[in-house]
């Protein structure tokens, strides 16, 4: 196996994902299989190849700058409408700072 159970739990922590013990075991197996397939890329010598981060097209450097003008924002009420908990114009979350 490419990943230990501990490593799987570590990645889940990085991803802010609570996983059950069953899920950790399943994930370990699935990631192992996929990462083994991915090893195929090591057959290729890519030294000297420019990485392709985006499909780019010819355009002026400033082409994607839009005119700087006021536009009506979505508004606090609409922005908060889908929040599970809000109040006084803010999203509410569990307390982070102890008094």
């Amino acid at each position: 196996m490419k990943l230990t159970e501990q490593e799987v739990r570590g990645v889940a922590d990085l991803a802010n994902l609570a996983l059950t013990d069953d899920e950790v075991a399943r994930m370990r197996h699935d990631l192992d299989e996929i990462l083994t397939h991915i090893d195929k890329l090591n057959e290729l010598d890519t030294s000297g190849v420019e990485p392709m981060a985006q499909v780019l097209f010819d355009a002026e450097e400033t082409a994607t700058l839009r005119e700087d003008r006021e536009r009506p924002p979505v508004g606090t009420e609409a922005a908060l409408a889908n929040a599970p908990l809000s109040g006084s114009g803010y999203f509410k979350i569990p307390k982070v700072i102890e008094r």
């Binding site: 609570a18 994930m27 991915i38 190849v49 420019e50």
Partner: protein, 473 residues
């Protein structure tokens, strides 16, 4: 068959009203939903208001618009103001977007009538539509089989005759593969051709919005209505949008077409026969067909599942229990994040978030993400080299026709491998589409894929249209 033209003619001749068409489509979709589960939400109020506006225009002697009165279904990863948008996820079960995606605004400006939101794999992650939190879509052609994914609902809505047009999204084949499985036309435009403002982000360097239709001409008309620069999406292209539909009838004689040999190995035999027969038809039309090679094809799946999951792990970080509807109860902020996400996401999303987080994590970035970006450059170069010799590339869409529900659900790698012929087009960012090219003995549709140069959707549509006109499929 109902098409944009037949609706336009009927409306202008006062044979029916846009309201009647919308009502019919809504009733049809609702009745069919027990069978196929293609829709997650219907939008009768919005549809009838849009239809009435079209009827008023016609009554006033005005033009009803390029899509005037045409009922359209929209994949539920594309946001609609005031209309529930779930992304196929439990996480967003009650999410009501505060704005419209640009594609939605544009198709309504053109007179289109949105009748509902279609089922899809959760956050567009899947190849069978079985990853939807609201149950799979069943293929209208064979109800024990998948409709394909991730835009399965949009493909099925057209295939079952509810709407002549729908919108899907394609990151690794999510328009073309369900189009081929359901026997309809599906188009992935050039990367940047269509604004993604309001398309829920999955993998931003790969995401596209694309149309489904019953005919090539209708797909071309819908694409023209939604394409073009949008200042709300900095990645949308400035390239002018041609009138694709009016260029369809140009002769394809002498057009050079390449058959990549890597795409014709390991095909299920009936699929191979049907695609070969379609290529023969193109030869009879006067196209010059030659074998070409796209040598890095075998590395595409590995490349894609690094890049797509890495970008997804970042894009999906926003679903943290703070802003979007669903939150798990917890005493601390970090537990609230972890539990909200752990309870909200389905298995496939979790798998991809995990893989994406892993390949981006400290010490692995160069070995995985950077390596994949380099191989992506090689895959894109395969195509640019090929397009020095040929004007279009033809290939199968999927190695096999629609498979049975449940058949691949326990083997994620096998599911990923089924995307082999579609993900290359997304990685290169070139336009590509699926056009029906016949059915297997069991009656399952097969699609022919056509790929062309960046921004040359015109040639792609011409080849597809010429083929469609001659074939009796």
């Amino acid at each position: 068959m109902t098409t944009i033209d037949s609706i336009r003619k009927g409306l202008l001749a006062k044979q029916f009203t846009a309201r009647e068409i919308a009502q019919k489509a809504l009733a049809h979709g609702e009745a069919k939903n027990a069978e196929t589960n293609a829709f997650l939400t219907f939008s009768p109020e919005r549809a009838l208001a849009a239809a009435d506006a079209v009827d008023q225009k016609i009554a006033a002697g005005e033009d009803p618009g390029a899509l005037g009165g045409v009922p359209i279904a929209v994949k539920d990863v594309i946001v609609t103001r005031g209309l529930r948008t779930t992304c196929g996820s439990r996480l967003l079960e009650t999410y009501i977007p505060p704005y419209d995606a640009t594609v939605v605004a544009r198709l309504e400006q053109a007179g289109g009538v949105i009748i509902g939101k279609t089922n899809c794999d959760e956050f567009a992650m899947g190849s069978s539509n079985e990853n939807s939190a609201y149950g799979p879509v069943r293929n209208p052609v064979a109800l024990d089989r998948v409709a394909g994914g991730s835009s399965g609902g949009s493909a099925a809505a057209v295939a079952q005759g509810t709407v002549p047009l729908s919108l899907g999204s394609d990151t690794g084949g999510s328009v073309r593969q369900p189009a081929s499985f359901c026997g309809v036309v599906g188009v992935t435009p050039t990367y940047g051709r269509v604004s993604r403002y309001g398309l829920t982000a999955f993998a931003s360097s790969l995401d596209h919005v694309g149309p489904f239709a019953t005919t090539v001409k209708d797909a071309a008309t819908l694409l023209r209505a939604i394409a073009g620069r949008d200042e709300c999406d900095a990645t949308s292209a400035f390239a002018p949008v041609p009138d694709y539909a009016s260029a369809l009838d140009a002769n394809v004689r002498g057009l050079k077409i390449g058959m990549p040999r890597e795409y014709f190995e390991n095909l299920e035999s009936e699929t191979g026969d049907l695609v070969h027969r379609a290529v023969d038809t193109l030869k009879q039309l006067g196209c010059e067909v030659r074998e070409i090679t796209l040598p890095h094809t075998q590395y595409a799946i590995a490349t894609y599942y690094i890049i797509a999951t890495a970008e997804a792990s970042s894009n999906l970080a926003r679903y943290d229990g703070v802003r979007y509807t669903r939150r798990a109860q917890a005493d601390t902020l970090s537990d609230m994040y972890r539990r909200s996400r752990g309870e909200g996401f389905g298995a496939e999303c979790k798998r991809r978030i995990m893989l994406g987080t892993y390949v981006l994590s400290a010490g692995y970035y160069d070995a995985y993400y950077l390596k994949a970006q380099k191989v992506r450059a090689l895959l894109a170069k395969d195509f640019s080299d090929a397009f020095k010799e040929v004007d279009a590339v033809v290939a199968p869409v999927s190695p096999f026709p629609a498979f049975k529900l449940g058949e691949k659900m326990n083997d994620p790698l096998a599911m990923y491998l089924s995307d082999i012929f579609t993900i290359t087009g997304d990685l290169a960012g070139i336009p590509c589409m699926s056009v029906p090219c016949g059915k297997t003995a069991a009656g399952l549709p097969v699609g022919l894929q056509i790929l062309t140069r960046h921004f040359d959707e015109t040639s792609m549509f011409r080849v597809a249209h010429a083929y469609e006109q001659t074939s009796n499929v």
